[in-house]
Amino acid sequence: MLDEGGEWGHMQVKGIGASPGYAVGKAVILKRHDGGAERRRLREGETEAELARLRQAVERVSRELERLADETMRRAGEEQAKIFSSQMLLLQDPEYVGAVENAIREQGINAEAALDDVTAMTVEMFRGLEDEYLQARAADVADVGRRIMDALLGREDPLGQPFGEPVILVADDLAPSETARLKPESVAGFAMELGSRTSHSAIIARSLGIPAVVGAKGVLSQIAAGDVVIVDGRSGVLHIRPDEALIREYEEKRDAHRRRMRELEAYRGRPSVTADGRRVELVANIAGPEDAWEARKAGAEGVGLYRTEFLFMGRSALPDEEEQFNAYKAAVDVFGPEAPVVIRTLDIGGDKELPHLGLSAELNPFLGNRAIRLCLERPEMFKTQLRAILRASHYGNVKLMYPMISTLQELREANRLLEEAKRELDERGMPYNGAMEVGIMIEVPAAALMADRFAREVDFFSIGTNDLVQYTMAADRMNESVGHLADPFQPAVIRLIRRVIEAAAREGRWVGMCGEMAGTPLAIPLLAGMGLHEFSMSAGAILPARALLARLRVGGLAHLAETAANLDTAEEVAAFLRREVPDIADFE
């Protein structure tokens, strides 16, 4: 709670923004039937009748779930509908309904009591597990348990009646079947006391486009039915009983956000083309195969940076070739055989605690023995990774990328080991793509300055702006007091980027970028004007970037780089771009 006004005054509660957007409406507090179930011992000979009563209730719930699955399929798609098929599995689960039957038989208690006991035990077990996802499964069990209880007692559905005007639904948490029974047009937003970004209510809210704040401790005690509530799904703040001015402010924000969402939605699944017909690639940075699904759903055309460090971290031994191969191929399988997947070899150094690598602590790990330097020192470890990547290349459009290259010797040495890795696979008769593209990251100023030479020996460059900025400006990007220096709009950085793209173009090589700059709207027109071909960014930045590119005419942007590279300061560059690019403010 950030602010406590009078007893009935305006107040704010901070939770977790779980589904973006803004909503303003009157609160409806979800009341459920709870408790009240009678607990008793069964009389002699009553057991069979009690088991039959349980089976009837389970059948009724099973029919309800089937109907909900159908409805949800139509309204929200297959993904959400699957929630109900996994709930239906619970109804047949020997460890759940089976356990309730056993309790009736063996303990001689009525169905309600047996159901209560088994549900509570199972929910407890899931809550006790570490995995956040599995904790959310506790909600599934609690939900199914409540529905069976309602069926046993012949109770009505609390969400059965319509709300009238769109409301803010307030509850401790919503069970999946409850969220599915809501009509999105009658609910403006969610305010939940419990939950996380991965709880059911959060996932469904995102898929239905309903703004939601979850994990807002205290909302149930602070909100009365009929109170006006503002849901800010971006910042995670709930405004309870706000004044007129704040209501108007949020209504405007809400309408602007809706317009924008409608506009962006049109770009999903479309190619990334500028207004004058230049095709570019919008791809995602991922940190493991788990991210690949999310990225594809967000509209990515492939992977521009697959960070492989996750395979080496949080474990006691090096991952073997087989394990690495599976992890790389998994991302290829997600995107299909045509989509580009750029896999970066291990980029790790003395800043990470990795006992099995035996790295020594360094005074200055970012200038120390890391990434390609470390890999060249340990050829067996490096070749294991190279073989795994080569094997994955057989299944799709895999490209290999070396990080932190500073000299041509490093590149040649890495390529020599790559040739060895290929021979080793040949000896084992294992297939790989012999024409797999090989590129380097440009993140060390030395490599940017030598780009003309590198361009003769690689297939592509990918500019890693986070490190290129930090090394060019000699400013630690994690150190806030030098943050103004670690700015990609510094003219020195822009000159380097321009030089790299021009050097590559002279040799007919393509250039991508996988730093944060690639997804920054203000930088996109500048980079497109320079001729950058591939933009790799976090998944959420892809649709806005595609919408922005569709408005740009690359032919009219070439002058941006020329001017920007000749300005004096980063502030001047940013101000210049804001002046020159029409409507850029819509995207920032």
């Binding site: 699957k82 929630i83 098929s85 996994s86 599995l89 619970l90 047949q92 689960d93 020997p94 460890e95 759940y96 089976g98 199972t122 077990m125 899931f126 597990l129 570490e130 995995d131 996802y133 599995l134 499964r137 069990v141 493991g288 195969p289 788990e290 690949a292 699904w293 087989e322 394990e323 599976n326 992890a327 191929k329 998994a330 991302a331 399988d333 997600v334």
Partner: protein
């Protein structure tokens, strides 16, 4: 199925039993949907099915059992089948555990 080691026991002539390990290759692990499909498949066989991880074994026809193992990407999952059509069940379940498609 490169990682499986299968042993078939045929002690009593008719009681088929298979035990082996498979690697979870779905990047999302065996949560929710992929796990649900696995349990449906297990339930379609008459034999007993068990899954295990790190020494813990659970009823392979129970979603609750499977979820309590929390099988994640890269984990090695033990499969044990016993009884009628045990060998067929073992192979089909292993194939699904090692598949990537949803």
């Amino acid at each position: 199925m490169e990682n499986q080691q299968m042993e078939e026991q045929d002690k009593h002539g008719e009681q088929e039993e298979c035990v082996g390990e498979f690697t979870v290759k779905n990047p999302r692990g065996l949560h929710a949907r992929p796990g649900g499909d696995l349990i449906k498949l297990a339930n379609s066989f008459p034999c007993e099915v068990y899954f295990g991880k790190n020494g813990k074994m659970v009823n392979g026809k129970s979603m609750i059992g499977l979820l309590s193992l929390g099988p994640k990407f890269g984990d090695r999952l033990t499969v044990r089948t016993k009884g009628e059509r045990a060998r067929e069940a073992f192979l089909k379940l292993g194939e699904m555990i090692e598949s990537v498609l949803e």
